[in-house]
Symmetry: C2
Amino acid sequence: MANPVVDKRDVKFVLYEQLDIEQLSNTAKYAEYSKEMYDMVLEQAWKLAENEMEPANSKGDRDGCVWEDGKVRVPESYHRPYQMYREGGWLPISEDVEAGGQGFPVVMGLSAIEAFGAANLALFLYPGLTHGAARLLEVYGTEEQQRNFMDKLYSGEWCGTMCLTEPQAGSDVGASLTKAVPNEDGTFSISGTKIFISCGEHDLTENIVHMVLGRIEGAPPGTKGLSLFIIPKLRPENGQLVDNDVNCGGIEHKMGIHGSSTCTLNFGENNNCTGYLLGKENQGMRIMFQMMNESRLFIGMQGQSHASAAYLYALRYAKERTQGPDISRIKDPTAPKVAIINHPDVRRMLMFMKSVTEGLRALLYYVGFCEDMVRSSTSDEEKEKYQDFIDILIPVCKAYGSDMGFRVCETAIQVLGGYGYCQEHPVEQFLRDCKIASIYEGTNGIQALDLVGRKLVIKRGQLFKRLIGETEDFLKWARKNFELRELVATFEAAREQMIQVTKYFGLKGMTADYVVPLLYATPYLELFGDVAIGFMLLWQALIAHRRLQEIYVDAGAKDGESQKEVLATNRSAAFYRGKVASAEFFITNVLSLSRGKAKAIMSGQRAAVDIPEESFALS
Amino acid sequence: MANPVVDKRDVKFVLYEQLDIEQLSNTAKYAEYSKEMYDMVLEQAWKLAENEMEPANSKGDRDGCVWEDGKVRVPESYHRPYQMYREGGWLPISEDVEAGGQGFPVVMGLSAIEAFGAANLALFLYPGLTHGAARLLEVYGTEEQQRNFMDKLYSGEWCGTMCLTEPQAGSDVGASLTKAVPNEDGTFSISGTKIFISCGEHDLTENIVHMVLGRIEGAPPGTKGLSLFIIPKLRPENGQLVDNDVNCGGIEHKMGIHGSSTCTLNFGENNNCTGYLLGKENQGMRIMFQMMNESRLFIGMQGQSHASAAYLYALRYAKERTQGPDISRIKDPTAPKVAIINHPDVRRMLMFMKSVTEGLRALLYYVGFCEDMVRSSTSDEEKEKYQDFIDILIPVCKAYGSDMGFRVCETAIQVLGGYGYCQEHPVEQFLRDCKIASIYEGTNGIQALDLVGRKLVIKRGQLFKRLIGETEDFLKWARKNFELRELVATFEAAREQMIQVTKYFGLKGMTADYVVPLLYATPYLELFGDVAIGFMLLWQALIAHRRLQEIYVDAGAKDGESQKEVLATNRSAAFYRGKVASAEFFITNVLSLSRGKAKAIMSGQRAAVDIPEESFALS
């Protein structure tokens, strides 16, 4: 039996009951699509993920990538699922039909991505990065560039990469030394070295198209002088593909994602590397920035994918593994053993994993849904509103998603105990694979700075105000639920703390104390993430609570005992009860800390920056 | 240059300035020992750790253990440092001279353990476990058993293990199926299988002595029917060592500690395995329990060791790696790059690591010091007091130490960014090696149950009351410091929250709601750990603050500017300033959450246990 990848019922709950994506069919853009088609996509994605991608995951981790004579071989087990993925037309699932895509809503594409990432993240990185490269070409490429490169990328015949990092230029992208010298024919001769390039060289496809940041001779220093170049491994010349002097100098030996090659790429070692300018000169960072939302949402989803797979695996294990008696018979050595899911501490761990996984899923899908609203709405005002939601939520999705995904993987190991630490179970791999998500596509520290230093500030704080307005509308509705009033109140209080801290940052930012928001950017993002997840879970709980009451009424179950009977026999009822429980657990255990977190931030305590460097350690 | 293992100045600060271990020389037991001798021990331990053990760490991780034909080879690089460790007489450093030891205080042994674990945990596990086995023999063995086994263990000529776990008996030790049949000569014929046995088979030493839990035929079920047996790999017979039918059926492939063999051991497959009863029949668990404090403190120290090594490595990296301009020139592309330690978010991470590492170190050493007080005091009352401190703090040391050690390792990876994810730097190994500490020697969930279900309850709550009394005495002194009054107040408030939750558990424990303390045992342990670390850091800050003031007075530095000059030139002043900063950081950022943590626990919210199993996930 393959390992489970996603909670299918919950995926459908988010899509149909929470976000109600069927409403998209009312727009011209998505008029042709229906729930039946969505269901079919989901079934196909899950089948591919479970039957083809997941079985290659653990073996791919053990085999890893092999670098030999400048070439990289991916794990043998990857080739078949990659071909099936490609033939299924999954890569451009949410792309416009005119660009060769299937035209499905972005949120549908995301739900497929969740399953693929949960099944085999290292494998899925190859097409995942390819999509980003293709999308750059779709938006900024000339017709010739699209014909030469984009079509082959969207079809998965070739793969693509993003090349930003250099040895001296990590978070500081502007320090790039990659050089571009104009040729007479409008192309550029490229020279430079890029490191940490995911999927930079491999044998899954014949050709690889690199999107490379570099500086045209004479361009200004820093990010403002960077341009973006299309640099294929093999370049088209007179209808042939010829070697383009892109050489892989080695691959990294990493903690995880062993099946994904992480390459050092040398461009133009033999002065024969041609690059094609994408967009305009010195616009490289601006172009990259516009694609960043997509790639950062993708990385947040990586955290979610690992959380999903880790939670479901630990859950199954906890139902099967027996150990110790029920707590009511703890002192009786003759008591039968029970499955460990019956032990309170194990349940606590599972509830943590469940609530975080469900909350993150909702948040990420919500952002995907916002993108669909941007794409399909006919109102500029509405478009801007949803774009604002996306822009402010993206750093939270990326950083909070990867950090919390890691926590869930860590908890899964703990549920499995000693077995969780061993490679015969997949959870230790999930943890190792997941860690990279907090680092690449901008470290989580960079995300926090993006949130505090940019997203809170641009448009005079409009993004934040809009989001708060949206939750205010939500609260008007939520306050009507009498039975969940305590949850609503705890959420309200946490939201208020977040507002206070945001105002505090606003004040500090205008004074000489501007270092304080920078120092507390990461704790702020965490608080923001808590509230965002609390919002999603409360929203879900309100829906689920109503459905549950309807089921009780239909069954004539008025008291606790008869309701318990319903829960025991009605799977929908059990599911909705679980949704309410997720909100109860998360809001009580996590949002109760919001006040303290806000207090810590607003202490403005500067010990970390005020002490001399020598105070850190003398040895 | 070897990687740094511990902050030497801070180790000495804890030993001499905080715990003032020189006072031990006033006792008869430690009258012969002096600061000069302690310093010598520290220097020797650090030299061995840095020059011999650490250089074998990364290679040992890559090579791992090899199992072939039932035999295990440890990494080749381990043999030399092991021999040097053994020849240095480190194993029985804190053992009585009469038992072949060096008679040093336990806290001195601990400080050496920290360095060895930080240098090479997987290697250090071999003698670490040997020590536990030897100690069991010292306390419970007959003269013959001591002669046959203990001496060879303390000298490191042979290694020792602890064998508890079986496939069906993990946390549920009492489910053991290992069988012992009495022989006529008083020995037992053993049959059974143990799994996850650390250092169960290897080629570091000629012989291995296993301490094995099993059930004598006809003994009662559960833990009450378990006895402890000495089962050597080679048994002494007529002056010879003969094969004792202990076979290694395989080793685990683990996430970390690759150099430490984790074995399946089959006893008596050929009906030729002899075991020697240690202590009395059916007293196996009781004996093991008495040794548990030592082994759990050792595992807590593992978390600390990794935290120490990870912090110091990340600190060095942050001082050397340049990236981006100073924040004051963030928008100037021509501004020079600065070391990343100048970036506020990096400083925040370093301060987190620093404060946790220093607080944990103090807590663990404090428990070691308590053990010295138990061993050296002539007052039964005082002995009991310190034993109570040890008993209640041990589960916190083990679980909080390993959990926070893991957090520090995780943060170190984040400081290094992409480099932290790659094997050329040691921090990803620290994370992998560290994870096991939350699992073995009783999972951290088991530790929390030990704290809540046992340590809070025994002696009518005397252990907790005593600890609170001790902190009350401390507070009387602490409240006199006017300048640190806010820190003192925040600590007091957190301590009060811990008291309230403890009382709440007491009430719940007496009602049908007894499941609530079990459900919240882990969050309670976390709160307890926060307060314990806060206590240690505040204690240190009060000492450091006084010293710093003395230095300022001596230098005639009365205002902020002149004090800054002192900090820049006087290393002691910088160190003391750093100590105060650790308390400021931890107390503000972590103890501010105590109220929320307490509130969450005292909500008594039971979502995790109340929902039906089906509510967790349907797929």
